[in-house]
Structures are given as C-alpha cells and as structure tokens.
Assembly symmetry: C2
C-alpha cells in the first residue's frame, strides 16, 4: 500500500481511525501536526514558557520531550527514580542516554534518597500502588518546577490514557475527577504550576510508531507494580470497541472536551472523603490560564512540613513519608 | 459451596457482583426481589395496570412474562414475527408453547402479512438492521397497546442491555438518547403508551440462570441479522471490565439513574438530523407518570397514514413501509 499523503513511498503506519496510512516522513509530519494542533487548540504552552518535561523512560514521555524540542520549546527533563529494583535502573539509563545524546542533563529525583521508594510507600498507603505513585510523582513534578522557576509541567499522557481515565471516571460517575480531567490544569494561586498533556490528541500506537521510527530507545517493559492497574482494564475495554469501530476512542475523548465544563461538574456525586475530594490531580486550581475552566476549590494553604500546597496542615506527601520513615 | 442465604443447599448460581451464591430456591427469591424492587423503586407498574408484555421467544422476554405473572400483574403477550426465515419460526413456536402451557394465547403480529418483513425492510433503510427492526417493533408495541386498551408496554431489556446502551450513548455524547434512556418512559399525550423495562436491575446471566432453573424453554440462538450489532461490541467491552471488577456494570447504570435528569439532558450535542432527533425510543414523551422526568418534545401530531404519533406528516413506520412496498 502506498502512503495516502505523498502517494510515492510505501505506507509504514496504518491509521484506521483516520482512514489513512503514511510513509515514515509523512507520518512524522502528521504526528507533529497533531501535537502542535493539540497545544494550539487548548493553548497549553506559549513560546515564552520554560517547560519541565516529566520523563519516565517510556515511549510516551521520551517522544513528548522529542516533539517539544523539535517544536522549539525551552525544555528540561525531570526523571523520578521510583526505586523499583531493576525496572527503575533500566528506566533511568534510558532517560540519561536519550538526554546525553542531545546534550541535556535531566534533573533526577531519587525516591530512595528521599526516603519514599514506591515499593515501601505502597505498603504504607491505603490506596492502589499506581495511585500512591501518582501522588508522589505529582508532588515532585510541582516542587521541582516551582523551586526552579518552570512555568509549565508537561507529562506524556496520550489519547488512550486519557480516554481510559475518562471511561473509568464515567463508570463511577466520579464528579471530582470528571470535573478536573483536562489536558490543561492552569497554574494555581498557591504555588501550583500549570500542568499540560501535549500528547492528548495522539494514540498510544501512534506514539509508539513515532518513537520506533525516530529510533528513540525507550523502556518497553511495563512497570512491574502496575500489572493490576484498573486503568489497563479500561484501556482493554476501549480497545475492544476501537478495533470494531475505529475512531470511537478519539471521538469519545474529544466529545468530552467539547462538553460544557459546568455540566460535567454537575455530573456524578461529590466524593465523601478528603482523599477522594483532592482527587487524582492534587489540590484544585484556579482557572488562571488558557481556555479551560477547571473549577477551583479552597485549600488550607502551605504544608507546615514542606511548604507545598495542601488541603490539610500537612500535605499528603509528607504524611505518606512520615508513615514510611516511622516503620 | 453452600448457598449463602439458607446455608443448607449447595449453591447453584454464583453472583460475584453481589458477593453471593445461591441455591435454586434462594436464587428465585433473590431474582423475584430484584425485579419487584426494580418495579417499586421507579414506580414502573401499579396493580391496576393492564400490561402488554413483548415476547420475542428469547430468555429475557419469557422470563419477564413469567415474573410479571408470578408477581400478580394482569398481562397479555405480544409476539412480533419478524419474518426472518427459520429463526422467526422457531421463536414463534417457543412463544406459543410457553403461553399455551399457561392457558394464554399471545397476540401475534406477522410482519410478512404487514408487508414489512425485517429482511426486506432492512434493505430499504439507511440505518443498521437492528435499528430498523427496533423502529418497526416499537411501532407495533404502541399500536397494539393503544388499540386494545393496555396501560403499559413491558420489554425484557436487562441490566446488560441498558448498561451497554448507556456506554454507547456516552461514547458518542448522544444527548437525545442519553436524555431519554430510562426504564420508565411515561405515557404521552398523543397516544403513546407508557413503556417499562422491569428487568433493569438483573443481569443477562441472572436472567439466563432464572430461565434455565425454571425450565423455561426459549430460543437460545441469536438473531442471525444482529451479528454485527454495535450493542454487542459495547456489551463485550463492559464484560471485560465486569470480569475484573465485579459490580462495575450495575454501579455504572444505577449511578446514571441517580443523576439529575436535567444535567443528563445538557450533556452531549443535539443531533442534527430528524432520524437522530427522534432517537431510539420514538417521539419524546411528557413526564406524566412516576418518578422519572424524561423530557418532552413537540411533535407534529397523528400520522396522516396510520394515525400513530409522528414527528412528520407521515410516521417513520409508514414511510418505511411505503419504500418496502414500492419495490
């Protein structure tokens, strides 16, 4: 089959959801366009931004960094070493190798040195492993960005990630997570740095194809602690549908973004407990940037232990750390 | 394993979503309770009702009729012979045999005699086969009920059916179908009879187990024309999730029913074309009965050809029939 764009080279990437197929060069153009349009449409970034790119060593985050550099943004990489034996070492190596080849030196936070390696932290939390890991990572994303003067934190979540999360939130009619799910979380008044997901328009397959064709060397193994993650179940369910009805996943997520945010905020039931109210994305933010209107909520102020934004006197990271260190 | 209720007999039905397992007798009690509670909670039926039960010959509709009779409702069966070679003959036989053994004679509408057997009708419509079939069946459900003085039409849709439909409606942000999806569609001012789905709280597996254990002889084959139905894809996706997270399907659907109907009616985008505006359940109804507030919409009045409620001068059934007969 020939490339549907140039009609010369052989097609290398089949995209049933776009009714298309591209040769590598045309696919690069397509992919770049998807990402730059995703940034432009939701005003995720401006040329003045200093962007902290969170790089795990997996395909999505390395492809994100690659694209943002190619698009001309000022970026630095942040790698959180989760302290998971073997897996974390291999992930860190991939990040250092990728950055080194481009004359970059990523900022590295080692959770072992911080006293909260994820395997220990997970033992001391009442939440799913992936949820604990998310709390810790988001804490450091924001702390490093705020301390070093970055204006935006970028993560590699792709369309499949976001659609799967949306499905999970709808299946549970989870008002708090639904109302805060967006590729743009504006900066907050209390030291919260803007958070963006520039890959929200590209699928996991497209990101993998881009990384592969660009020769980006990434960790292919899944995190050994994520095998039972509920997000994988939602992804599998959406894949069942996408296979039979290509394009459904994208229409589902883009349709969600077109909804009135107030209506979305009236769906579901407010969660009862404090953990659930805080939700996946930490304290809520004031809508202070861009097109999104993510609802704001009052929180207590600065954590008395670390100074980070917190709902309670001590932030959830510090409380977790205290439990881990005590034992 | 022993029955979790009587703790004497061996468990015959395992219900992971209810963290339970029952012997046949206790399962019958459980099932009956689920159905009667489903009717009571949403005020689907009252003892004064004359209920027209739509029986296809499959497990759901025969179990529904069985339960409604057991619960003491005044019922008659309506069977629509779809005119699908072999399958329809076998379905009709099952309905006649079930009814005959209970001293009942179902009303039968033969779509061949009406000039619109489904295989022909499907050829002349721009919609999916199942969608055409639904239009025709709903037309006769309402016509027979209205002409013969029934106060309610009952169909055998179960929890899996309704959850799958809900998933499809959410994936497409389909405002019209979302706002009208409910186990109770109240009677309308223009000759629309109340429509109820008394099995909305029981799963497909529970209904099948009930039918099997009660010795109800039903058609087990799927309709040969429904093999590519999108609803089957949504069902499969939800089954993937249910298997890993039992109870998710029920919480999803029951959570939907707890939503503010106005909020649901503000979700999604209004459909553009007339077919889509009419939607799965025919003309919209005034909220004239029970707890649900299903939004009402103006429609043109009586079909000039058959007198049924219609959006346009001629109702969609008559327009379809005209196309079929012309050819």
């Amino acid at each position: 089959m020939k490339c549907k764009r140039c009609r010369k080279a052989a097609a290398a990437v089949d995209l049933p959801s776009h009714h298309s197929a591209f040769c590598p060069d045309c696919f690069f153009l397509f992919f770049r366009r998807q990402v730059s349009e995703g940034i432009r449409k939701l005003r995720l970034l401006s040329p003045d931004d200093r962007v902290l790119v969170c790089v795990s060593g997996g395909k999505d985050s390395l492809v994100l960094w690659d694209m943002l550099m190619e698009l001309g943004y000022r970026t630095e990489g942040l790698h959180i070493d989760l302290g998971i034996e073997g897996y974390s070492d291999r992930s860190r190596e991939k990040v250092l190798a990728y950055a080194g080849a481009r004359g970059k030196e990523p900022i590295v936070v080692d959770l072992r040195s911080e006293g909260v390696p994820i395997p220990d932290a997970a033992k001391h939390a009442r939440k799913e492993e992936c949820s604990v890991c998310g709390t810790v990572k988001r804490y450091f994303f924001n702390r490093v960005a705020a301390q070093r003067g970055f204006t935006a934190v970028a993560t590699g979540h792709n369309l499949d990630d976001e659609a799967a999360r949306l499905l999970g939130n709808l299946l549970h009619w989870d008002r708090d997570h639904l109302s805060r799910q967006h590729p743009l979380l504006p900066e907050g008044p209390e030291g919260l740095v803007r958070k963006v997901k520039p890959l929200w328009r590209v699928s996991e397959m497209e990101t993998a194809a881009y990384g592969f064709l660009k020769g980006i060397d990434y960790v292919t193994e899944e995190c050994p602690m994520s095998r039972d993650a509920t997000s994988l179940v939602y992804k599998e369910a959406l894949s069942v549908i996408e296979e039979k009805m290509p394009g459904t996943r994208r229409n589902f997520y883009q349709g969600f973004l077109r909804q009135d945010r107030e209506v979305i905020g009236s769906l579901g039931v407010p969660a009862g407990d404090e953990e659930a109210i805080r939700g996946e994305d930490g304290p809520e933010r004031e809508a202070a940037h861009g097109a999104a209107a993510v609802p704001a909520a009052a929180f207590a102020g600065a954590c008395i232990s670390c100074g980070a934004p917190a709902y309670t006197e001590t932030c959830s990271y510090c409380r977790l750390k205290e439990r881990v260190i005590k034992t």
